[in-house]
Amino acid sequence: MSRKTRRQKGGRRWVRAVMAGSIGLMLAVTLLPEAANAESTPGVTASQITIGATVPLTGPAAPGYDEIAPAMNAVFDWVNAHGGVYGRKIKYIYLDDAYNPANTATLTRQLVLQDNIFADVGSLGTPTQAAVQSFLNEQKVPQLFIESGCNCWSNPKYPYSLGWQPPYTVDGKILGSYIKANFAGKKIGYLYQDDEFGQDVVKGLDMEIPASSVVSQQTYDAATLAGPLSNQMAALKAAGAQVVVLATIPAATALAMLPAAVISYFPQYVVDSVGADPPTVGPLLASFAQKGGASASQVSASAGLLNNVITTAYFPPEADTANPWVQDAKKILQQYAPTLYAKSGLDGNSEYGVALAYTFVQALEKAGKNLTRQGLIDAIAKDGKSFDTPGFVPLSYSSSVHFGFEGEEVVKLETSAPPAVTPTGSWIGSVPVSPVYVTSPGSGPIKKYTGATSTPPKNFG
């Protein structure tokens, strides 16, 4: 056969393939349903409000964080069981983005363009939510109560985005002022995650701690975090740091404390609240110690490394069983999320989810019967300060401030305090060591908060 004929044969196959391909694609897409026509307010009918979120249910960020959305859903089920909001039941669609911004981008478009959600509520992560911030704002879809303390959520350019937890810089400022007041004259070292989270915490610390007393600053990269942070801890020890501030995720907290203990380095730890939840960090310490070849007694002693750690809290710890919010959150989880409760009980993450979801329910109530996206944002700006939350300070929302809690107290983890009890074991409790402070992430002063805290509604739980 000549080359010519082979070429022609190849060419014809080409044509057919292109035609077949385009026809196939055409059939595939025409068979898919068209999106429903947008009504006056997308996602809202007389009987239902559809909202959505993207959260990590799998992957490295999932442990702990995968409890938040199911806990939120329990609150919505409780609302629905009590007649909904103005007769509308809440339908919550949460999708797994595995903490990958590319997935977030696609899934958020699925939620907005296909599932027609009214609002994106309780989505998690800085890189993931930054990836869809401009899309959601262009579409005028509220991006509410983003689960991240990035300073970037309160930005006039993005009127539909709102944070909820304290900005990381607020954590840094409040911890920094505590260190300045209580560890004066001591040598201070930092170990922080080299991204927005760590850098924002350090920004706050640097506003309070004199630069002359910081003897060493160490970093690690979250993407390549795979083993003990031995070099960093050795450098801090060599610099003579007596107080070590950790702006670390839970795994990194454990991977910093263990190698330090190996070289008999026991500084005073001050840990950002992101990486200090005992029911999360305790088991990590034990499992990493075991993998590192520690003896059984060393493994069981590893949780003791958390003793005397200084951190912050902005709502009551799950161990505070006398607190009505803690009691009600437990009741709601037991009744409406029994699988979650059986697995992890009430811990910092599920308590967070319950409080965040209830904040949204109140926003819906204040937005009124004629629910619109703009109306919801306006209602939060107008009434957000008076919403009931377990927080030690009221929410800060106004037309210009899109941060939620801007205040917290400094606490010390102590073995003598009532422990947090979860199905995975019983973990160290905490005691407050400072009054509640409020401050903005900017250069504003740190003030004591003396106002009241709110109580849960009577029928909650």
Binding site: T5, M19, V29, Q114, A131, C150, D221
Partner: protein, 353 residues
């Protein structure tokens, strides 16, 4: 040979541009009509398919035509993505120029990786490109002021003309560019470069005896392939609106390779199947696992499991991928006038000559 069989054959001109352009035009018109009918979300997904197809075409050229393997094409996509995002942030030039620049920068990166690659083969080459995919994100993390750190760089979607929605306009751009790239690469494969690529793949010694500069040919293939991947990454960033290292993890490079194999290594049209699988498979598998109530744990790994299963089945049933399987079916189609047996292709061709 009866009349029906004769009429069923299409004779295309032998000049490559005249052969490929009309086909692309027909496909373009069909896709234009289809995109206009789609819902907004499906438009978005068709656009994503277009972006992946561009990257896959590059990989298919490298692996299928030139015989080199790359586990780093996700990283080349990231290079293109960051280039276009940086240009959009700091300049206000035409987005077509910015896309071309993205392809150019990624091609330059391809040359840098391609030069040492000429000395490596098989698993060693795979290892080297894998290293590139692993190392690249650290660069973005190292200079957060330039590359935006964790949050990455946000991009703006080119403003849609007339009454088109943003998603529709974007889908048309992405699909249109995918078609243009396919025509260009198809023409390239018909030229002496394409023949040189294949000659080097089949036997390097024979190729060099025939006067082909083997190393230069391999580097050229790497550069073109990386340029396509960069363009694909830039197009993807137009969709997602942000360039971010998290979008281009190592798993993406591996998925690209799997999608290319599934589509049909070395084919161009097969890459359309690859792109469709990359975009729709995760969605289908999630709805399947939701349907069977498998829980969130199974949900997440379902896409990977199905991808793997489909890959194994495809390798057993159609070793040349979907496109190879379709070609086989076409060649063995029941033929009127020949007792339903597949017409032996060579006879038919020589009869038509």
């Amino acid at each position: 040979m009866d009349r029906a069989a004769l009429a069923s054959r299409v004779h295309l001109p032998r000049q490559p541009l005249l052969r490929h352009l009309p086909v692309a035009l027909v496909a373009g018109v069909v896709l234009y009509v289809v995109v206009a009918r789609l819902s907004t979300y499906n438009e978005y997904q068709v656009g994503e398919i277009g972006a992946y197809v561009v990257a896959l075409v590059g990989l298919s050229l490298l692996t299928g035509v030139n015989g080199q393997i790359s586990l780093g094409h996700g990283a080349f996509m990231a290079v293109g993505a960051y280039t276009v995002a940086l240009l959009m942030t700091h300049t206000s030039s035409n987005f077509v120029l910015e896309l071309a620049a993205a392809a150019g920068v990624a091609a330059a990166a391809g040359i840098v990786i391609g030069i040492p690659a000429t000395r490596l083969k098989g698993p060693y080459l795979a290892g080297m490109t894998l290293l590139f995919a692993l190392a690249l994100p650290s660069i973005a993390d190292k200079w957060p002021a330039t590359f935006g750190g964790d949050q990455g760089l946000t991009t703006t979607v080119p403003t849609a003309p007339g009454s088109l929605s943003a998603e529709e306009w974007l889908a048309l751009i992405q699909v249109g560019i995918a078609l243009v790239v396919m025509v260009l690469v198809a023409n390239l494969l018909w030229s002496r470069f394409g023949r040189a690529f294949r000659a080097v793949r089949d036997d390097e010694i024979a190729a060099s005896l025939a006067g082909i500069h083997v190393a230069r040919t391999k580097v050229l293939a790497f550069a073109i392939s990386a340029g396509c991947a960069g363009l694909g990454g830039a197009l993807l960033v137009l969709s997602t609106g942000v360039a971010n290292t998290g979008e281009f993890p190592l798993t993406l490079s591996i998925q690209l390779l799997a999608a290319m194999v599934l589509g049909g290594t070395g084919t161009l049209v097969g890459m359309v199947w690859g792109g469709i699988l990359l975009v729709y498979l995760p969605q289908w598998s999630t709805s399947a696992s939701n349907h069977f109530n498998l829980g969130s744990g199974a949900n997440a790994y379902m896409a990977t499991i199905i991808f793997g299963a489909v890959l194994i089945v495809a390798m057993l049933a159609a070793p040349n991928g979907i496109q190879g399987g379709l070609r086989w079916l076409w060649a063995h189609r029941p033929h009127p006038g020949q007792g339903g047996r597949g017409a032996p292709a060579p006879v038919a061709v020589s009869a038509g000559d």
